[in-house]
Symmetry: C2
Subunit: 149 residues, 2 copies
């Protein structure tokens, strides 16, 4: 027969570690890096390993429960909010905020016709100076947030 075998679907088990990673991501507002999540996780589960964090981020991403962002070149960041939304990023301190959902929708679908692409999704990133960085000309960036670009 034609190889019509179903996908060798992997059956997931639950794990404390994966739950923790997801919970951290959902309750943080800073679009953190894997390393930041790892440090956070150690506070609740001291023996958790970085490999486990990376593996679970990958699984959660494939499950569609979290999103992997390309905001900083050379480093992946994660977002526990999978709803369609835009980001705004500070050029000075690297902080990334969510844009209010009311941001005007563009009719992206038209792009498909122009390019031949079959459009699935889109993302907009706006860059500038956050309120804090506009004020202090001092290099008081990063606060308690995750790493800088």
């Amino acid at each position: 027969m034609g190889d019509t075998m179903a996908t060798p679907e992997k059956v997931l088990k639950s794990s404390k570690q994966r739950d923790l990673v997801l919970q951290i991501l959902r309750s943080s507002m800073c679009h953190p890096t894997a390393d930041w999540i790892y440090e956070e996780a150690r506070k609740h589960m001291s023996k958790i390993s970085k490999a486990t964090v990376y593996r679970n981020l990958k699984i959660l991403k494939e499950e569609g429960k979290i999103r992997e962002l390309s905001i900083s070149p050379g480093i992946a960041r994660y977002d526990g909010d999978i709803r369609m939304h835009y980001h705004i990023k500070c050029l000075k301190c690297g902080r990334v905020d969510d844009l209010p959902h009311v941001f005007p929708q563009v009719s992206i679908e038209d792009v498909g016709e122009a390019t031949g692409y079959q459009v699935h999704s889109h993302r907009m990133e706006i860059m500038g100076l956050c309120p804090d960085c506009q004020n202090d000309g001092i290099r008081n960036n990063q606060m308690n947030r995750s790493p800088i670009l």
Copy 2:
């Protein structure tokens, strides 16, 4: 201490290596990675080192002559076209194309008022399947690291 000294501005010298990197980037249409640029550069200057490529990419970026893209999580890509334009990326093969400049402008500046940010620039990335990938096997949803490039 009235440290009012002017910026210790660094005076750039020209170098064959930097010129080569810039020329490669301007004549390539594939939004390449640093490594791709390095391999390309070796074809013209066999002794060039990867460190030199990285250093020059950084300098060119700071000079504003090229742009660093965040398209693929965990790896930086570069663009020799610094004009404002959008990108469209294939979810299957990872290829990144430019969008026609006619793409409708959004009034981004309004975002400043809503967020308190001082807006400098913005970028839009649209994702989907490129014409080639729409045809062959239907194993989409891969989010792979572009095998192309």
